[in-house]
């Protein structure tokens, strides 16, 4: 499977087994609760996903039986904690299909991964007059670290534009790549619009001019199968908490030769081979980038989350969410005065919208009292909101446990909003 083109992808998900959503919902204790006396319709998954019992149990088990510091004790507990921590690294390696385990660095989340690369790769390679290229649909976390780097280095941040559907204009993107470009950093899936970027193609465009590419996969990891070798990206990052894992744990993948070549992000324990007051020799990969006691419980919890989604199968999840997305798009499109923001041909489970004459914040408050949790605001993508001429949107975002009934609840909730604000 070379290009992860539309046809290949849809064929893949069409053949994926259909999942039993009502059985899956049983795995998530959070979903059993009522909100204001109504069944909770949790549609804020792009912000964070709920956790299956298996992940909660893994955290509990670690703190009950194995809690100990890793990579240093000779005692039984430390050995066990280290083993579970490193097993999680192997699970992540398989999850993104990295070549080697040492290419998997544990970080706090996607934001830290992006900052790590801006700091360690950026400061070694971006100088006065150079350029870093991003796109117009980036989250603030894939804008601000590059802005900081560029302002420090008198370099220039370039932004590839998007069309009215929320798709990156590939010709413009290609044209913005030039001999001054030192790094390209792009979202795999847009958090505010749901657009799936043709990252494989974009990586190829950059590589033709030998420019490395970082992919912000925060919104992709829960929804599509990731294969970093097939994408051939140089760096890839995602957050545990969006893929049914705990908060405070995330992953940076990097090609080993690139990670070898750059300096550590933080200094401290575990990232050293030897220290004297004159000189420190750094540890090998991946430990060079993991200074200090890491989020051991979170890492083990992430491992459990990866087991959970792998067992259901990402293709089945993608198929389920795509069905919900089509159903939701159809239903919302029929509501007079509702405008969907982000209508890319290739989309993951995000329904971003505005209602004529009603501010998204007011929409969110009324829906909240109906038991419907959505996000309202600028979604940490203020330049993108400006592009669409809206101060904010209301965003419903889907996960494996969402149902068509919940989409119906959302539609009824929106009718309710319109009643409250009837002219």
């Amino acid at each position: 499977m070379k290009a992860i083109g539309k046809e290949v992808k849809s064929k893949m998900t069409d053949h994926a087994p259909q999942l039993d959503v009502h059985k899956i919902r049983q795995d998530f204790p959070m979903l059993k609760q009522l909100a204001y006396g109504k069944p909770l319709a949790y549609l804020d998954n792009a912000a964070t996903s709920q956790k299956p019992q298996a992940v909660i149990d893994a955290l509990m088990r670690y703190y009950t039986n194995d809690n100990s510091n890793i990579h240093r004790g000779v005692h039984l507990l430390s050995e066990r904690a280290t083993q579970h921590y490193e097993e999680a690294r192997e699970k992540v390696r398989q999850f993104v299909n990295a070549k080697e385990k040492r290419e998997i660095i544990f970080v706090r989340g996607t934001t830290e991964a992006l900052n790590l690369i801006a700091h360690s790769y950026g400061r070694a390679n971006v100088n006065a007059g150079d350029e870093v290229l991003i796109t117009a649909l980036e989250h603030h976390s894939n804008i601000v670290p590059w802005q900081m780097l560029c302002s420090e280095r008198s370099a220039r941040l370039r932004v590839a534009p998007i069309n009215d559907e929320g798709e990156v204009l590939l010709d413009d993107f290609a044209q913005l790549i030039n001999e001054r470009t030192k790094l390209v950093s792009i979202a795999h899936v847009s958090n505010a619009l749901g657009t799936i970027n043709p990252v494989r193609e974009m990586v190829e465009m950059a590589h033709r001019q030998n420019i490395p590419v970082m992919i912000d996969g925060a919104q992709a990891a829960p929804h599509t199968r990731i294969d970093v070798q097939e994408l051939d990206c140089d760096f890839y990052a995602f957050s545990g908490h969006k893929v049914y894992g705990p908060t405070g744990i995330g992953v940076l993948y990097g090609k080993s030769e690139l990670l070898e070549a750059i300096s550590p992000y933080q200094g401290g324990g575990d990232m050293i081979a030897s220290v004297t007051f004159d000189k420190t020799t750094y540890n090998t990969l991946p430990y060079k980038f993991e200074a200090g006691t890491p989020n051991i419980a979170g890492t083990i919890g992430l491992g459990a989350a990866i087991d959970y989604v792998s067992e259901i199968g990402l293709d089945s999840i993608a198929r389920h969410e795509h069905d919900l997305l089509s159903y939701g798009t159809e239903a919302l499109s029929q509501i007079p005065g509702l405008r969907l923001i982000g209508t890319a041909k290739k989309k993951a489970g995000v329904l971003s919208f505005v209602l004529e004459g009603i501010h998204p914040h007011d929409v969110g408050t009324v829906l909240d009292r109906e038991g419907i949790a959505i996000r309202t605001g600028h979604h940490c993508a203020m330049p993108l909101m400006e592009r669409f001429g809206v101060p904010a949107t209301a965003r419903a975002s889907l996960a494996v446990y969402n149902t068509r009934e919940e989409i119906d609840t959302l539609v009824a909730g929106i009718q309710k909003v319109k009643e409250v604000f009837a002219l």
Binding site: H359, H361, T365, V366, G377, H378, A392, F421
Partner: protein
């Protein structure tokens, strides 16, 4: 549902849709911009102060029903008030929307009392107080953008 009706009272919906004193104030001698980074709402308040008195006041900007109605009703309430009276009203209003009001204060609030429902919606307190914070910044005259954060 009763909570929602408490929040979105008729008067609030009315002012949210058709705000009074909306637009630039040509002869303003004090102004400030307010910003709520949580929802992206922006507002500018213009004040004409003569001596110690708020002689005229207008605002412009885009926001939710609560923040627009709050600005609208605030501008109505403050016309002709002294700085000290404005400050007193702000305190009483702030207490009202955060659920700390005293009986005596509510009586002085007039139309502003329709915002009592906000106290049941902690996430919306910032919407209701944005225009007030902006007004205070304008009156204190440092001209900085104020933020609700």
């Amino acid at each position: 549902m009763t909570d929602l009706q408490d929040l979105y009272q008729e008067l609030i919906l009315y002012h949210g849709r058709r705000p009074r004193n909306f637009g630039k104030l040509a002869d303003a001698n004090k102004t400030a911009e307010g910003y709520n980074p949580l929802c992206g709402d922006k507002i500018r308040v213009y004040v004409k102060v003569g001596g110690d008195v708020v002689e005229d006041i207008k605002f412009e900007g885009a926001g939710c029903a609560i923040s627009t109605a709050s600005a609208s009703i605030m501008t109505d309430a403050l016309k002709g008030k002294t700085r000290a009276e404005s400050e007193q009203l702000f305190k009483a209003f702030h207490d009202l929307v955060t659920g700390h009001q005293q009986e005596a204060e509510t009586q002085d609030l007039g139309k502003l009392a329709v915002f009592s429902g906000v106290s049941e919606f902690p996430t919306r307190v910032k919407c209701a107080t944005l225009s007030w914070h902006t007004l205070r910044a304008a009156l204190s005259g440092d001209g900085e953008v104020v933020s609700t954060e």
